[in-house]
Amino acid sequence: MDRVEIAATEMSPSVRLEVQGEMEFVGRSMMEDASTFYLPVHEWLRTYMADPSEEIVLRFDLTYFNSSSAKQLLKILMTIDDSELQAKVVWSYPEKNDVLYDRGAELAIMVDIPFEFDPK
């Protein structure tokens, strides 16, 4: 299984997927069709789940994401939630941005994965 690294663009985040059990998303996620962008992420996750490490850590450091991306982020979380993987989420957000904190808190309510909030 390969490590995946995708560079950020104006509309999409940087993505880093490590076989040791780490998924990182940094930047902005605002593509109109987020499903196409996140397809390789879902595929990687499926492969990872066949031979997982002890724990997977999901790091989100997003300054913005649109509704199309929200669906994809939740899909990633629900896939992990529905499995027996040990997981935790580190949700970073700009300290003054309550909305981004709230977005993370809302995702935390929707899945049964521990969230750690990290204001920057």
């Binding site: 104006e10 499903s35 649109n66 509704s67 199309s68 669906k71 629900m78 003054k96 941005n97 909305v99």
Partner: protein, 353 residues
């Protein structure tokens, strides 16, 4: 109001607000997707020159009748580039003299002036013009239109460059937009507190640079800034996602941003590819609910959408309603092309941003 005025435009964009060099490339990338590759370099040059004039004087807020404005319109066989600046009385006299002088020069004389200035960095007898204005006339091959309006002790000086898209196409001079039409747009924008208008195609390639321009007018990381940005993203992508395609397979619409003292107003309009009754029902339902109900709906629909293929989450309007706390406005107009749906949302400015 703007729809009727821009009905014959292939695309148009107007902006009044903070101006900086960063915009030039963003504006050019928007225009690049809309114009023929044969003239894109000329258009880019003319946009950059007009923009540089504005940047030198600086944009300002709050918007006044003297505020700088930039506009570009593609209409029939022409691209019209419009810019306005605040000038003193002596600058107005100087500019008028320069423009009269340049507009009198023929192509050969213009070239002479240009080369002379390049060679010596000075002006020849016949001229009196700066290099930028000379180049604008040379490249557009048409006189610059200009006008001015007094306000207190200053003037709003307006200029318009008209570039033919295809010189091989027979063109009626009546198709040339007169500057007074753009004067009306500026005046209307001022009175309606409009800071941004775009009409044309909507897709990620065009949306991205537009959002970059709008962002500079929003306080980064503030709740209000985030809300305006998010509303703009969702409304623009709503057009590209749910808009009816035209004959060329493109989805077109209008986006307008207004800035008032205590709130912003974001609106968009297009011909949707879903029945209007469906949109009306959805909005009425969304508007009737409390924030708690909307939060619950958002989570339910988002979870359900995960089980469905496709990019659409189906929660965009719910999210905007719950984030702003204000009802979504909707208006429908019927014309020969179908039903034109306009949506609008008020975004109050929060005390902490």
């Amino acid at each position: 109001m703007f729809k009727e005025h821009f009905d014959e435009d292939q695309f148009c964009l107007y902006y009044s607000g903070h101006f900086n060099d960063f915009f030039t490339s963003k504006l050019i990338s928007i225009v690049d997707t809309e114009v023929d590759k044969r003239i894109s370099k000329k258009v880019a040059f003319l946009v950059a020159e007009s923009f540089q004039n504005i940047i030198k004087h600086g944009g300002d807020y709050p918007v006044t009748p003297l505020s700088s404005l930039f506009g570009i319109r593609s209409r029939f066989n022409f691209i019209h580039i419009f810019s306005t600046n605040k000038v003193d009385a002596w600058q107005k006299v100087f500019l008028e003299k320069r423009l009269r002088s340049i507009n009198r020069l023929g192509p050969h004389e213009l070239k002479e002036q240009y080369l002379d200035k390049l060679r010596r960095g000075t002006l020849s007898e016949k001229g009196g013009a700066g290099l930028g204005l000379i180049e604008m006339v040379r490249r557009s091959r048409r006189n610059i239109q200009w006008d001015y309006f007094p306000h207190k002790e200053k003037f709003s000086f307006h200029m318009q460059v008209d570039l033919m898209r295809d010189r091989n196409v027979l063109t009626d001079e009546k198709d040339v937009l007169q500057i007074k039409e753009n004067n009306w747009v500026k005046d209307t924008m001022y009175h309606q507190s409009v800071v941004f208008i775009y009409q044309g195609e909507f897709n990620d390639e065009i949306i991205s640079p537009m959002l970059a321009m709008l962002e500079t007018n929003m306080e980064q990381n503030s709740a209000t800034g985030f809300t305006i940005f998010h509303t703009s993203v969702e409304m623009m992508q709503n057009i590209s996602r749910h808009g009816k395609k035209d004959k060329e397979g493109r989805v077109r619409g209008i986006f307008v941003l207004q800035r008032f003292e205590d709130h912003f107003y974001v609106s968009s309009a297009n011909y949707p590819n879903v029945p209007v009754e469906e949109i009306t029902t959805k909005i009425e339902d969304t508007n009737s609910k409390s924030v708690d109900q909307l939060n619950e709906d958002y989570r339910t629909f988002l979870k359900e959408s995960v089980l469905e293929d496709g990019s659409n989450a189906g929660v965009g309007l719910i999210d905007l309603r719950r984030l702003t706390g204000t009802p979504i406005d909707m208006q429908v107009e019927k014309d020969e092309f179908g039903e034109f749906v306009m949506l609008g949302l008020k975004i109050p400015m929060k005390k902490n941003g």
